[in-house]
């Protein structure tokens, strides 16, 4: 609809705006209705909720994961001394989830930029501690890092499932998968802060900071496998 005073363009060459046949449109509608018939179950229900509800649901899972880890933690007082790091990472998660669930033309580039920020958050936090860190350089530190990595994956898996279920796209773009992995990585790191007292640099980089990268690579691989088999 033109605004007052706005001139409508003249019709372009019909060769470039050729009418589509009614039969073609009806055929597409039949195909679409068949797809809509399959829109049933938990995933269909979750992803058709309003964005504000999807946002709240994702944050509930984040809260539940962290609450569980805090309840199990033996070092609450110690961790709370680093409240600024906790607050900063929580803010990143909230903003990341909001960006992940939003759609729009300008979103894809923002998603990539924000993913970079999220992926750097954990290494940055580790770097902040460098003065206080030891570096054993021992194989044991790497091995225990893998233990923490597995723990982080386990604790962030419910969020991974929830973000997957809330995604409205059947074929999500790479930016969306990268952001999804980066958010889950930060939440896993937040859980690990409560879980692990290690101050070994090798351990922190391999077991904690690498979690986001691991999730990103995991999602990209998951999509690739899906493309090959589907």
């Amino acid at each position: 609809m033109s605004q007052p005073g706005e001139e409508k363009p003249q019709t372009a060459l019909p060769e470039l705006t050729a009418p589509t046949s009614g039969a073609e449109v009806r055929h597409l509608l039949a195909g679409l209705e068949a797809q809509l018939e399959k829109e049933k179950g938990l995933r269909a229900w979750l992803r058709s909720r309003p964005t504000s509800v999807r946002f709240a649901l994702a944050l509930c899972v984040v809260g539940a994961v962290l609450a569980l880890e805090i309840a199990r933690s033996q070092r609450v007082t110690e961790v709370l001394q680093n409240w600024s790091i906790l607050a900063g990472q929580t803010l990143l998660v909230v903003s990341g989830v909001s960006l992940y669930l939003r759609s729009g033309v300008l979103v894809s580039r923002s998603r990539l930029l924000f993913s970079g920020l999220l992926l750097l958050a954990a290494p940055f936090w580790v770097s902040l501690l460098v003065g206080r860190l030891g570096n054993s350089g021992h194989f044991e530190a790497l091995a225990s890092g893998l233990g923490c990595f597995a723990h982080g994956v386990f604790y962030s898996a419910p969020l991974a499932l929830m973000l997957l279920l809330l995604d409205r796209h059947d074929r999500p773009a790479s930016e969306s998968l990268i952001l999804r992995g980066a958010i889950i990585g930060v939440v896993g790191n937040l859980a690990l802060i409560w879980h692990c007292p290690s101050t070994d640099l090798l351990h922190l980089f391999s077991g904690h900071a690498g979690l986001g990268v691991g999730w990103v690579l995991g999602w990209l691989l998951w999509r690739r496998v899906g493309q090959i088999h589907g």
């Binding site: 060769e15 050729a18 009418p19 195909g31």
Partner: protein, 205 residues
């Protein structure tokens, strides 16, 4: 006739008939838009279906005080962009399957014009092309286009002005046909420049 927004409200309320009416109203223009840019015509149909599937999933996000058409074209544009990112190429105007029925009746001259215009569209920037397609072919207003592409009204007008100017330059020697010409969009920056010029001239002793 019920408006798009009334139909959408009815669909959110559970009316499948309203959804069908919306599809029949908008699918043809979306399909034309997709077909123009995609080489594989069956992919165009697939993207139109995806567009309405997204509309279905996001139906509870629809704000009845906003217009539906720009929202629908935003979804379509996102899907188209994602598609081109996936296949790692930029849109190219396709005349496949479109020009054949028209060629005989409209003559070789018109067909040549269409081909030349398609080639010209391939030479303007991606942003200018999006605006031109939405304005010239899909007949959206600049206000609607600004909503669709997520840019300011003046940025959209600048893109249209520059894009049309480039197409005009490329097609300078070509007659498009009776009653057809490339739209002229005034340069939104021009008044500001002339005001500045008048200001400077006024101060010149």
């Amino acid at each position: 006739m019920r408006s798009d927004e009334e139909l959408m409200a009815a669909y959110v309320g559970g009316s499948a008939v309203a959804f069908r009416e919306l599809f029949e109203r908008h699918a043809p223009s979306l399909l034309r838009s997709m077909k123009r840019d995609l080489r594989a015509q069956e992919e165009a149909g697939d993207l139109v279906q995806q567009c309405f599937l997204q509309l279905h999933r996001a139906r509870l996000d629809f704000d009845p005080t906003q217009r539906l058409r720009p929202w629908l074209f935003t979804i379509a544009l996102n899907l188209k962009r994602e598609h081109f990112r996936r296949v790692k190429r930029r849109p190219e105007t396709s005349l496949e399957g479109i020009h054949e029925p028209h060629e005989a009746e409209r003559g070789a001259l018109r067909f040549e014009a269409a081909q030349a215009l398609a080639r010209a569209l391939d030479q303007v920037s991606k942003q200018q092309r999006e605006v031109i397609e939405l304005h010239w072919f899909d007949e959206l207003s600049f206000h609607e286009i600004a909503e669709v592409v997520g840019a300011t009204l003046s940025a959209v007008k600048v893109r249209a002005h520059r894009g049309y100017a480039k197409i005009r330059e490329i097609l300078a020697d070509l007659e498009l046909g009776p009653g057809l010409s490339i739209p002229v969009v005034p340069d939104p920056e021009a008044p500001r420049n002339s005001e500045l010029l008048a200001d400077v001239e006024g101060k010149t002793p």
